[in-house]
Each structure stands twice: as C-alpha cells, then as structure tokens.
Amino acid sequence: MDRIIAQLPRFFSERNLILLLESAGLTLAMTALGCLIGFFLALVLVYLRKTPGLWALPLRLVCVAYVEVFRRIPFLVIVYLVLFFIQTVIRDASLFTVAVIAICLYATAYTAEIIRAGLESVPQQQIDAATAMNLGRFRTTLWVVLPQSMPVIVPPSVAFAVGFIKDTALVSQVGVFELTFRGKELNNQGFSAVLVFGTIAFVYFLMSWPLSLYGQYLETRLAAPRSQRRPRKIRQS
C-alpha cells in the first residue's frame, strides 16, 4: 500500500498520462475501424447468403460456414492466425493492420447474425410490393428492406462494437501499442500492478460505460415509431 502511494506522483506523470491517452485512442480507433468495416462486410455476407437458386447453394454454404466457424473460435486465436498468415504474405504489415483485420473478421461473423435477423424483421409484403414494381433483389434490399431494418440492426450492432472495446485487450499479446500493452509496459517498468491495472481498468470503464449507455438510449429511441421520432413537420400547400 505504501509503495503504491509512493509511486503515485511518478506514475501520473505527464508523459505516462499522454501515453495512456494515446493508447486508449488507439484502442478506440481499431475497434471502431474493425467493427465498421466488419459491418459492411457482414451486409455483403448476408446479401450473398440470401442468394436464391440451386446454383448458389455452395455460396450460401460458404457464408453460413464463415459465420458459424468464426463465432466459435476465440478472438485470441484469430489474432494469431491473422498475424502469422499476414507475415507469410506481406512481410512488413503493421501490427495495427493485423489487429484491425482480426477485429474485422470477428465482427463480420457476429454482425452478420444481427443483420440477418434485422432484414428478416421486414414484412414480406414490402418486398412483394417492390418486386411487383420490378425493383430486383439488390434495389429492394438497398432501398426498401435495409432502411426499414436499421432500427432493428443498429442498436445491437453498436452494443457489439462497444462490448468489443474490452475484448481488443487481447491484441496486446501480439504487441499492438494499445491500452493493455502500455499497461504491461508500465508494470514491467516497476510500477505497482494494482496501480497500473486499476488505472487501465478505469480507463476502459470510461470508454465502455458511457458508450453502452448510449447504445441503450439508441435502442429505446429507435424502437419508437417514426412519427414520434421525427420532429413533425407541418406543411401547408
């Protein structure tokens, strides 16, 4: 205890604070980037998964297999696989790239399930109307189904991304300079583990908690019907 108190001034030096702030930024950046790219890849994946016709059966199977497999492998194993796989392809890929790709692969599988449920929540009649107007599958999805399913898709996707901020701590293992890695570094420099990891935990908490509250707010807000969500414009003509 005395040791911790003695270390306090040296630990909360300007240099260390900037270091922690930067690495927290990196944690957020790679989560956001990975989950955002993952979201769009998941959209593509779900669209492909719904391709009709017998000829597309292998394609559908690949899509299902991707989702099933990647949801069942630990993130840490994916990180290692990406790391060593990339090194055989590109020698000098940055660790940040490795982290983003790993997050992206994982987020794609998880978000795909969220998106699929969202798309299926749109009534068939909407699709029928679009089809009868010759909209085609792509345009029907893009103009009719997707906009209507966003209120169902967005809140859990945000919740997933926010929850994943914590899980990115695992990429410290391969040496990405994110928050947990910096924590280990400081611990190795002789700072008390209680002090270091307590602080790190607190920083994670500061990122994760407000965002998860925001996610819950989104959920209640988007659950309201459109007419109550949109400020009502009264138009005269």
Binding site: D128, A129, T131, R139, W143, V144, R226, S227, S237
Partner: protein, 245 residues
C-alpha cells in the same frame, strides 16, 4: 385476341394447391371483376400474374404471347406492363408519399423526374391527397394509404391494372371517391382486373364477372346474368348471401 388470357393455371403454397386450373380472359379495355368467398384464391391469381408466385401449371398469355415465369427477363417485361394494388396497400414505410409514387417510374423505368413528379401530383390530387405529398405511410389512415397505393400503381402507367379489394378499408364517403377514380380509368379504356366484394359497384363497372371458389372458376358472365340469374348452385348460394345485405 384477348389482352390477357389465363388458361388452366395452377399454383401451390408448399403442398397446398390453392389454384387448381383457373381460366378466364380479359379483352383490351375490359373490366373483369373477380369475386368469390374468402380464401377462394382471388389474391393468389393477381400475385401469380405479376410473378410473385410461380405457376405450377397452365399458361398465361399477355397480348397473345405466352409468359414463361421461369425466365427473369420475361417476368420483368410482364411487370413492366402491369401494376398491382395490394389488399394491404404495401406502401414503403421508409418513404414519404411522393417518393412512394415516383420511385419506380424514375429509378426503374428511367423517366424524367420532373415529369413523373408532376404526374404524381396530379394523380394524388385526383385521389384527394394533394396535400399529403410529404407524409409518411404511418401518418396516414388506411383509406389514405389505399389511395396512395392506387396513385403509385397509376404512376407506373400500366397497360393492365390489378386491384385487390381496394375499397375494403375505406369509409363509405371515400369508397365513392376511389370508385370514381376507377370509373374514370374504365372510361379511359384501361384494362383492369378487380377483386371486390362491392356487388353494386361490380354490377355498375364490370364488363364481365368471374366467380371463383376453392381455387377454380365456378361461373362467369356479364354482371346482370351472373348476379341475378346464377346458373350454378354454388354461385346462387354465394350471391344470395352477399346481395341480401
């Protein structure tokens, strides 16, 4: 040559056969009313015509040409000539009224946006909704949505219009408004298939009445004949019940 010819068409939902050999024809500019008890397959016929349900047998001819519903290009061509108004309106919930009406003509048929918007305004005026251009479907009553759906179908400028119980959700005052629109269309020579329970209206507007029951045609003929002197017992029973109130 009839504008539309349906011969011995069959369709099934899974293992349930809902159309078991339906045949009738519609001439150019003719108004044919499809009537029959609930669940007899009237909506299914319309859905099948626009390619939402593949036929499991029989043929459909449009202007003499047989339609192969397995060929996507052909189905698109057929949809280009027909427009359907659904029983449950099916307006796009994420678009306002104007967008609902102009989407397909502008984005699919590639017509000029200005022109289409002008047309849309006129059509919406005609169905009494000229002041609701920017309302969303969930801000409209059922009857208003129904009328937007009619305007949306007309904006496609179809050759053949399919109307599925377009008056069922309307109050009597609006029924007349909507029927007036349909009457005009009939006068203008639009080919129409119209599913309806409004026997008075059917009598007035239809050139011919096709009565369906349990997935097939029971009887057909001019309204005066079929409504007042049905030949089959099934039709007598049905019209007897429906005309009494």
């Amino acid at each position: 040559m009839p504008h539309l010819e349906v011969s011995d068409v069959r369709a099934r939902y899974g293992s349930l056969e809902v159309l078991s050999g339906v045949s009738f024809t519609v001439d150019r500019g003719e108004v044919v009313a499809l009537v029959g008890p609930s669940g007899s397959g009237k909506s299914t016929v319309l859905r099948l015509l626009v390619g939402l349900l593949p036929p499991s047998g029989g043929t459909v001819r449009v202007a003499g040409e047989p339609v192969d519903y397995r060929r996507a290009a052909m189905v698109r061509a057929v949809r280009d000539r027909m427009a359907i108004v659904f029983q449950q309106y099916n307006l796009f919930q994420n678009m306002d009224v104007l967008k609902n009406v102009t989407l397909a003509p502008v984005r699919i048929k590639g017509r000029d946006r200005r022109e289409v918007e002008d047309l849309a305004r006129r059509l919406l005026d005609r169905v009494g909704l000229g002041d609701k251009l920017h309302a969303y479907p969930d801000e409209l009553s059922g009857g208003q949505q129904q009328r937007v759906a009619i305007a949306r179908a007309l904006a496609m400028q179809p050759e053949i219009l399919l109307l599925d119980e377009v008056t069922s959700a309307l109050d009597p005052e609006l029924v007349n408004e909507v029927l007036e629109v349909i009457r005009d269309l009939a006068r203008e020579g639009m080919t129409m298939i119209l599913v309806s329970h409004e026997m008075a209206f059917v009598r007035e507007i239809a050139d011919r009445v096709v009565m369906m029951d349990k997935g097939s045609v029971v009887e057909e003929g001019p309204p005066a004949e079929i409504l007042d002197n049905p030949r089959t017992a099934r039709a007598r029973d049905f019209f007897g019940k429906i005309l009494r109130h």
